[in-house]
Amino acid sequence: MNLNLPIRDSLARSASGLAGVAPRALKFSVISTILGLCGLRTTLPRLGYTAALLGILLCPGLTSAQTTTDENDLIQLSIEDLTKIKVFSASRHLEGLREAPSAVTIITADEIKRYGWRTLGEVLRSVRGFYISDDRQYTYLGVRGILRPGDYNTRILLQVNGHRLNDNIYDQAMLGTEFPLDLDLIDHIEIVRGPGSSLFGTNAVFAIINVITRRASKGTLEASGETESFLGRTGRLTASAEKGRWSGLFSGSLYRSNGPEKLFFPEFAAPATNNGIALNMDWNHVGQAFVDVQYGNLRLQSFFSNRNKVVPTASYGAIFDDPRTLDRDTRGGLDVSYHLNLSPQTDLDLRTYYDGYEYYGPSAYEAPGTGRYVQVTRQRADWSGAEANLGVQLGKQRITIGGEYEHTLNASQKNYVVGQMPSFAVNNDPWLTAVYGEAQLNLIPKVTIRAGGRFDWYSTFGGMLSPRVAVIYSLNPRTTLKYVFGRAFRAPGAFEEFYIDNISIQAPPRPLRPEQIQSNEIVFEHNLAPWLSMTADGYYNHLNNIIENVEAPSGLSYFVSDAQDWARGIEFELEAKRASGLAARASYAFSNAYNSNDGARLANSPRRQAKLNATLPIVHRGFAGLELLSFSEQQTFEGTTVPASFLCNVTLSSKPLWRHWEFSASSYDVLNHRLFTPMGPNDPESAIRQDGRTFRFKVSYRVGPERK
């Protein structure tokens, strides 16, 4: 829901003028901090942490109040001189969010261009504490140490302009090429960590990722083309217009890739299965369209995406090297919203929507006696709903209340062998309704308390309460300390609840309960200088009733909400941003995640992650973007170990040249390490390798007014 409520405290850094710090002292503390953070792979990690802490503590001006001499000096200046001063831009207001007062990361369109990220998954991989897994079908996201193999990103709420993208069959957050929007349409991405169910309901367990699209501008036409390794090619056409109170943005994209011609899987290295070589088994076809029309306060958005991807990994027992096994995901939605300013202190947002999703997945199988056949799983759902949200400012306090209703008009799940009647077909129409509220109280100076909760009622399992309390303390204009406690949940999806075909999945012994998380988090944010900020956060999460697919004595499996996990960790980040375009983000995340039932470490969970993203301007014409990502080793579902990964990506991008043209060239996995990805319980491989060094070239042509 695009509520246009500006984010407050998490980015409320009122840096007043330059830090009163000697440049040399500042340089020393920052360098020692970074070197300390980089010391994670040495034999003396403790020394590294100590150096980092020393660097931070030694930084002068940490606790002293900031002087205001600069502001007083500015007042004395003449208006002519004021127009000549060079300014540093503070963080922008964020759009529409019933904000979670925790650690927030913003990724801008400029960063997406300068780092050459191709999918939303690659963007998220650069974020502190986040890691991804790509099994050549979908991209999966791990947050704070938890990425359950065989999962579908159900514990992340993914939105576009506040509109939920998780589908109503699998509850999946689509992050790879299956993400329904072209990355060029993004203005910025708001990543809010922590439990968000107190305002948004299901799926908002680990993070809410809200993708905000670009605004329409007067008479603009854009065409862009990309070519990448393995004959990947993309074409996009975007048109935008503005007239009076009307504005519209229309865009369409097509992507095709042949994928690597030969993929080798050692698990199938036998003459009967082509010696482990899958030929032309990684092709990918995507078509997308997006429309955003506004008239005054009324907004209509619509998106559509269709992706066809062949599956090379012979998952779920399919025949190896058979191109008939593929995933086709179709996702679309229509969203109409209206914003009302009832008074300068009160605003009302109304939204209604209609969404659809279809999964079409044929798989080639071979059975003794039956021979070869193709079995199709076809899931289809459409759902519609309405939301209302009221925000009231009462002096220094702020109240938000709202309600939602959503009805899945039809969730149809089918399984059939091509040419035969369905062996399984079921139709359901669950619904949910919810009310929520949050108060932001500024009763004590320097302290903000945000307390709220949401009550959901599901036709499938009944009621669920998700409270959240946050205390935000601004020590001084440049330093903020937060503590957040919250409970969030993930309701069982239609797939878990209703798909009982008695061929592979049987009825559960007990009704499924929603998963729940209890989350505690402390965040420390500080501006070392107007252009340099640091964040440190620590968390302790406990998950209950995790829904798992468990094998039964009959040989079939069933879903049950029994598992329990806990995770705790600590993360550090330094971010620098200069007006010239020079920017860098360095982070280090440490996490420990365990299964509470048997005390075993969780699979797919790297204990340490270190990242560096840096952009440097090049001779006023463009930028060089460097990305260095390091993840420690992981256990796979089967108990084997996937070695540590080190990834280096480089992108050279240009500013607009000759007014209309922009170019970029990228190389991914420059060192050709061919990273390993752990696989899930339904894959015959315990891990597969990624593509190694690949390239992409991109050209775009734009006609229209000058972009700032």
């Binding site: 330059l18 792979r41 004021l82 207001h93 007006a579 560096l612």
Partner: protein, 180 residues
């Protein structure tokens, strides 16, 4: 090999970042905007002489705090300035200047509608604020802050803007049709 490479890259990246630190001085744009608003009080003429200047701020970003800190209590041509954060409807009547910090056109159009024909100098910091009917826009363009003035809106509010200010500003034409 790998840990060394990573550390080296980190260090190089950060050192190259810090190198220009000693030479460029960048000022926080919020402080500059507050200074601009102060200057506006000197170069805008209200229809009636004012005993004090009341600046309403409809903005919950740090800019609001800076405005309050810098302007509250200061004197401009022997008129004390008072800053009101989030003025109520009644307080709006008394404002001489209204600083609108919302980033969304929907919000500031609603606010501008409210203060029409009221002799209030509306100031905003978003790109299309002046085009949309605001009187003065303080727009960050690249490294500098530029002034945009909507003369039609100023005339509607019966405010006179000194030629010294106009000389430094970009005059902006309103883009949308008159609202009914």
């Amino acid at each position: 090999m790998k840990p060394m490479l990573l550390r080296l890259a980190c260090a190089l990246g950060l050192i190259s970042l810090l190198a220009p630190l000693a030479w460029t001085q960048l000022v926080d744009e919020r402080a500059v905007k507050a200074a601009f608003v102060f200057n506006l009080t000197k170069y805008v003429e209200w229809p009636q002489p004012n005993h004090e200047l009341i600046v309403g701020v409809n903005d919950d970003s740090p800019t609001a705090e800076t405005l309050k800190k810098v302007l509250d209590g200061r004197n401009s041509e022997s008129r004390p300035i008072r800053v009101l954060l989030f003025p109520s409807d009644a307080q709006l009547e008394q404002c001489n200047i209204l600083y609108v910090g919302h980033s969304s056109p929907k919000k500031w159009r609603a606010v501008l509608e409210r203060v029409r024909n009221k002799n209030i100098l509306t100031v905003g910091d978003s790109d299309s604020f002046a085009k949309d009917g605001g009187i003065v826009g303080l727009v960050t363009a690249g490294d500098h802050i530029q002034i945009e003035v909507n003369l039609a809106a100023a005339a509607e509010a019966h405010l006179k803007i000194s030629s010294r200010l106009l000389h430094l500003s970009t005059i902006v034409q309103p883009t949308h049709e008159a609202r009914h």
